[in-house]
């Protein structure tokens, strides 16, 4: 009897596994290539080949291959979409619904891998991990990126926590990478302590949500929510759980009041790591936030006329709450940045402010989705995606210049930047481009991005008037932020260089790199590329609300 039952069972198991697994693995190829690269880096160190093939080449090649694979996947998506523009395309579940592979996954994968390539190139130029520590550094960098790539495709609360941990834990080490320096180790300790706490709180919230809904799958949250009678204790529990999950994500996004780690970590960390964290980690966290928050607004399929009891309050309070946090973050970030003397610290506060702007888009998305206006919700998401892409270039540009200048003048204080324009004009012009774009001045990418984010938020004001107020705060902040960015530029361009200061003589490769990073900012401000990118962002957002 055993023979009769158990053999088919194994066959069935085998069939089950082989039916979907190859397809899943193929879609997961970019991540797998990164995993392989990590192993190659370690093997290289074990066998001693890293003396001849430095770690950065291995990492760069691996990342480029992964980039190629995801680019291929993206091309497939675009081709499909041009054929049948209306049909739901390319949304598929991988690994029995643990991951989701849709337009946004593809978009963020490309985003992260492009960014990783740029960061690795920057570290090669600035030489922050020497050949000795290179394999370790790139292992951590790639490991964190794998976590972030899981974050953007997570469809299960376990993957949510796992991915956040995978992205965070290597980041803790990266922040403390200059292990002999007091500031670095202090930054790492603060980061790890707060980060671990936030992750714990998030996990507790996850447990409440999963227990109450009886499912751990993110894309079923909306449906399960509408089945519950959201009143009294049930509503309070779900609110508590959601708030705790959002605490974890807010920590990753360095939103007020969970921002306090950010300036310390960025100041203590090498500028390259700061750039990596400020862009990649934020991007991945936004992707996750969009996925989770979108579900919390309830099912999109239910027309707004049929109210689900309690859901109304949940969605609107969530949207308004996030909006207020976003406004508070941008205000606080800008105010605190004003008095900074260290440029990395200043950029950290600017990061907080920018996360606030983008959060407005997410809050408007929740509102629009709840009101049943999927088009507006899509616009909100695509606005955030556009902003993130521009933010990649302008923030990376700023951090790259900080890193390259540090290698020349051995300082990261704004006071030491005086008169730099005469010695390194190209770097300073590029810095000006990045900073003006960060302010959001036309005709730079930052302006267009701000427009794309804030326009749908303004439109969402029709649903709830508080959105208008939030847009007003954001605009006010934009004006205000001009002043502290200008301080850097004043120091660079107008002040004279004091005698006796080290002379900056950037290499031509450095200049090339800086130009490469800052040209897209110009292009994304005034060229047909805007349309291309916004189209891609819309494509990415489309699969989200079916």
């Amino acid at each position: 009897m055993l023979a009769n039952t158990s053999i088919p069972v194994f066959e069935q198991l085998f069939n089950e596994l082989t039916k979907t697994l190859p397809g899943d693995v193929f879609a997961f190829l970019p991540e797998l290539v990164l995993c392989g690269t990590v192993i190659a880096l370690l093997l290289g160190r074990l066998l001693g080949t890293d003396r001849w093939i430095p770690g950065h080449w291995t990492a760069l090649v691996g990342t480029l291959i992964a980039f190629g694979f995801s680019f291929n996947a993206a091309l497939g998506g675009i081709e499909l979409s041009s054929v049948e523009a209306t049909a739901e395309i390319s949304r598929s579940e991988l690994f029995s619904g643990l991951l989701i592979n849709d337009g946004m996954t593809i978009f963020f994968r490309l985003f992260l891998l492009l960014f990783l390539v740029l960061v690795i190139a920057l570290t090669v130029l600035s030489g922050i991990p020497d050949n000795e520590d290179g394999p370790d550094f790139y292992t951590l960098l790639l490991g964190a990126t794998i976590g972030m790539m899981l974050m953007v495709s997570a469809n299960h609360l376990l993957i949510l926590f796992l991915a956040v941990e995978m992205a965070s834990v290597p980041s803790y080490v990266l922040v403390g990478f200059l292990k002999g320096r007091r500031a670095s180790s202090e930054a790492a300790l603060k980061y790890v302590v707060y980060g671990a706490g936030a992750a714990g709180v998030m996990l507790y919230g996850t447990s409440l949500v999963a227990g109450l809904l009886g499912t751990a799958e993110i894309d079923q949250i909306a449906g399960k929510l509408s089945e519950l009678t959201l009143t009294g204790a049930t509503l309070r529990t779900i609110l508590l759980g959601v708030m705790m999950i959002l605490v974890g994500l807010a920590f990753k996004l360095s939103l007020v009041p969970f921002h306090f780690w950010c300036p310390d970590a960025f100041e203590g960390a090498p500028a390259e790591v700061g750039g990596f964290l400020s862009v990649a980690s934020k991007g991945a966290a936004f992707a996750l936030l969009i996925r989770v928050a979108g579900q919390l607004a309830g099912p999109a399929a239910v027309p707004p006329e049929i109210p689900v009891p309690g859901l109304e309050g949940l969605a609107i309070s969530l949207a308004i709450g996030l909006g207020l946090v976003g406004a508070a973050s941008s205000t606080f970030g800008n105010l605190a940045a004003y008095s900074q003397t260290n440029i990395k610290r200043l950029l950290a506060y600017s990061t907080i402010a920018h996360a606030g702007y983008m959060l407005l888009g997410v809050s408007a998305m929740i509102l629009a989705r709840h009101a049943g206006d999927t088009d507006l919700a899509r616009d909100c998401v695509s606005g955030v995606l556009f902003y993130l892409t521009v933010y990649l270039f302008m923030n990376l540009g700023a951090f790259a210049i900080v890193a390259l200048v540090r290698n020349q003048i051995y300082s990261e204080e704004i006071a030491d930047y005086k008169g730099l324009a005469k010695q390194a004009p190209l770097l300073c012009v590029a810095m000006a481009v990045c900073l003006f774009s960060l302010v959001g001045l036309p005709p730079l990418g930052g302006f267009v991005a701000k427009f794309f984010v804030l326009a749908p938020v303004w439109k969402a004001g029709d649903i709830h008037p508080a959105m208008w107020l939030l847009v007003g705060v954001a605009l006010l902040n934009t004006v205000f932020s001009l002043f502290y960015y200008l301080r850097i530029l004043v120091a660079m361009f107008i002040d004279d260089r004091p005698t006796g200061q080290p002379v900056a003589k950037p290499d031509s490769v450095d200049k090339l790199y800086v130009a490469l990073v800052s040209i897209p900012i110009l292009l994304l401000g005034a060229s047909p590329l805007i349309g291309k990118l916004s189209q891609a962002a819309e494509d990415a957002a489309r699969d989200l609300f079916l």
Partner: protein
Amino acid sequence: MSNQPLFWIFALLTCGGAVGVVISQNIVRMAFSLIVSLGSTAGLFFLLEADFVGATQLLVYVGGTLVLLIFGVMLTASGPFQQIRVSPGETFLGAAVGLLLLSVIAFTVIDVEWDTLNAARTEASPGAESGNTARAIGLRLVGIPADHEIGVHEGRGGRTGYLLPFEIVSIHLLVVLVGAAYLARAKRRVADGSTGGEN
């Protein structure tokens, strides 16, 4: 079968240990309270018929992670039996905030009518009671539901395979190991004229 007395013993030990961690002034006693708390948590897991989780809790958490923590305590304590001084005001504030938070969570989570919510699970089969979950967990890793879960979930629920996290966590552990080893070790090779001037 009545597990109630056992539950009370383990629950009291768990909570007592947790409170002990908070109120203890001596870092090693904190660690000991933590061991008591987490060890009794494993007991709670056994009561909840999660024997595999309970055993893992003992093996990995209590036997591994906490040993590591105690190591950290020993390596960083500047003197024997280091005391952590906390001012009375701070203690009071901490206690107040803690009680407030606890009452918020308690009156939120416990008020939920779990029984009616979980009515769907009433037809749970005997497999759920046996407590031998190792095999079921192993099957779930490859995406095969345990027998008592069939029909409980709609859609893909219960069919989730956890092969991906199982595999990907190994990469994570590898990366983490590299990171921890990097921080812990001294420079391996002498940097001969390389760019590493940071240290």
